[in-house]
Amino acid sequence: MKINFRHATILGIVLIVAGAVIFLVKSAALHYPLTPGARATLWDFEIYLEFVGRNQPARIETYIPAGDVERTFPQEEFYNGSFGLSLIGETGSRNRKAVWTYRYPANKKVLRYAAQTLGETLSTPLPLAFRESEPQVIPFQADEVKRQAFIVWSGNLRQRSADDRSFADLALKSVFETRADNEQFADEVAALLEEGEGVVGRLLLAQQLLQSQGVPARIAGGVYLSDERRREETRRWLEYHIDGDDFRFFPGGAPDRFFTIWYGPRPLVTADGVDDLDVQIALRSRETSAAAVAENAPGPLGDFGRAMGFSGLPLTTQLVYQVLITIPVGIAILVFLRQFIGFKTLGTFMPVLIGIAFRETALINGILLFSLLIALGLTLRFYLERLHLLLVPRLAVVLIFIVMAMAGITILMTGANQAIGLSISLFPMVILTMTIERMSIVWEESSAGEAIKQGVGSLAVAAITYLAMTNSHVEYLMYQFPELLLVLMGLCVLMGRYTGLRLSELWRFRALAN
């Protein structure tokens, strides 16, 4: 017996943990939303190129975001006009390029690339290819004067730092400080920075500093996702990786959300053979269903999420499961009410079935109809008692009568323009018939009071389970996270080993409490 007990406890806990782990993976890692109707902000991103052809061969190259395991761009769109488009992956980096070409463009031309993205945040890990690259020392290469300046400067930074992290902090600070604050190495920095290079030049210098210490680093380019804008500027920042930790350095402060498009010091767009090139980057935010975003998550984790859900099924099947999957919630509540509270009901699962029927009628109407049908059925049952019929034929008569009563109510209600009449048709007549039979036996064998008490108890449980099963939050959670069934199952296993007193027994045995 002891072994049984432990076995059941372990089984229950294993089931609950298994369900909870899948639930956590889906909610925390895949961002399946926990509330129905949760929204996610999706950004429409567009590169819009306008230029005038020179009637000579033209070649316009633009970096476009590259997909990988953690990002995909299924909604990509290109507008090519009469240009030829080829997509090129750059070797050695993760970059992807769209190359538009045309032999003799004339007049004003327009090219367009559009994609949708959720963007990234500071906590988004760096791309896998980058993190997995071996750290290697890349010495600084330039003419002798610059090399001397670089060595003096980096040597000093190295002396003043304790490890790679503090070195990186110092280096970035030193590179981005203005001349006045940077007395000591202002000359070296000035010598190393060429005039007019701006942010990219400084980032490049910082990258070289880090690489000379064996810290993998690179310049990333993209946009900040903060406002809707027709002309968004491209931004540059530095990504580096120390001892398994990801870092991003944004000159001028980090944005909440950004979108990485390309890597390297080169500009986003390069064009040959055209005039008056105008690059417009437009951003528009769009609210969308967070669940749909999670369901479309890429990679094996996304596949796992899809495998643990119903989103791959045909719509009609999904709708069936949307209802079915809430029934275990009702059942678990029923178990609790019976084993812990001590509710007495007519038939074991009958209240849950009645609760399901309430779906069609809504609560108040359901209770009224249910009581009416039971009352009518009981009246007939008491009359039939006098005819001395055999059990099964008598049950059949009651059942036929129930169907007739349901039809009668529907016709009457429709005549009175009441919609509830229609909803009654799905009332479970077999369940009603058995309920009437059980109630009449209790009525005769115990008392009318006991029969009514059990009837009302069943109705109360039916109402409670109905409210739980139709709660939009419960419906959503169960449907989006079917693994919660394992949790419910585990709970039922544990409840099955509850040997303590029920709430009703506290009342029943109150005389023995002192």
Partner: protein, 311 residues
């Protein structure tokens, strides 16, 4: 609420959950349950074990047996018809004797042969059996109850319920019918239960509707300190039920007949737990003690001796 829970726990009160898991499920093998669920089989096994039961007049299983009904019920001192697999006294008809061409029910109403056949058909179609499976009807001797409890009974037949754990009687109570319970000795219908001291067979204090009572609500006589006749014999019958059923946890229902002494009425593999209130003590400690006696083979007589030391 938590205080009540703790107090009940401290007093060893067990609930339905614990009864089911620790006793009924753990000690009563499913394959033996038929021995108590089918009352015809119970009678056969009891007579083989030398336990007296009310005499069986006939068994009705089908329409052909029904033709012999008049022959089965040809007893002017009354008879009882009950479903063989009924529970909690459901569906039982008690006939006191003939009345104006028909019969008189214990409630005083008249019933004719037609009405009786209808009730029997209900029994046969499984209206009162667990799970509704087809049943049979037993016609048997109506117990003429011993007047010893006359002062504390209202109509009906009082009976004695003994809880037996692995053959050791551990708890006993006298169940007395009241006006409210309609002459039935069922506690949940409002009958009175009086705890019985196992060593002496004298009633201790009593309960009705889960509350302590001192006197019988209809007759007004005190319920305490009534000596149960044939006490040792009753304990022995209860103890013997273990060999007979091989069930580790049963409720044994015994009635006292004026002429025939104690008769085994039926056995119950899921005895109720109200007996704790009647005895004013929780079951757990006594059950634990009896369980701790282990599996040593003992005769029913030895187990009765153990029972008397348990209290």
């Amino acid at each position: 609420m938590l205080k009540t829970y703790r107090a009940l726990k401290r007093n060893g009160v067990i609930g339905i959950n614990e009864r089911n898991v620790r006793f009924v499920n753990a000690l009563n093998a499913r394959k033996f349950l038929i021995r108590v669920d089918d009352k015809e089989l119970t009678k056969e096994l009891a007579s083989a074990a030398g336990i007296a039961t009310p005499e069986l007049y006939g068994v009705i299983k089908n329409a052909r047996d029904m033709k012999r009904l008049p022959e089965f019920i040809d007893h002017t001192d009354g008879f009882v018809i009950k479903p063989a697999m009924g529970s909690q006294g459901k569906g039982i008809i008690v006939i006191d004797g003939p009345l104006k061409g028909g019969w008189r029910l214990s409630s005083g109403r008249r019933i004719d042969l037609e009405g009786m056949k209808y009730q029997i058909n209900n029994m046969l179609s499984g209206m009162y059996s667990l799970g509704g499976q087809p049943d049979k009807a037993l016609v048997e001797y109506r117990v003429k109850f011993d007047n010893i409890f006359g002062q504390v009974s209202y109509k009906g037949v009082p009976d004695i319920r003994v809880i037996v754990l692995k053959g050791v009687p551990v708890f006993a109570m006298l169940r007395l019918p009241t006006a409210e319970s309609d002459g039935k000795a069922n506690l949940h219908k409002g009958g009175v239960g009086a705890g019985i001291d196992l060593a002496t067979g004298r009633t201790k204090r009593a309960m009705q509707h889960d509350q302590f009572v001192e006197i019988h609500p209809d007759t007004g006589y005190p319920l305490e300190d009534i000596q149960t006749p044939y006490w040792d014999e009753i304990l022995l019958m209860a103890a013997k039920s273990y060999e007979m059923t091989e069930l580790g946890y049963v409720g044994v229902d015994v009635v006292l007949d004026r002429d025939k002494g104690p008769l085994l009425l039926e056995l119950n593999a899921r005895p109720g737990i109200s007996i704790q209130i009647a005895n004013r003590v929780g079951l757990r400690f006594v059950l634990d003690k009896a369980e701790a006696l282990g599996a040593a083979v003992r005769t029913p007589e030895e187990r009765v001796e153990i029972a008397k030391t348990l209290g």
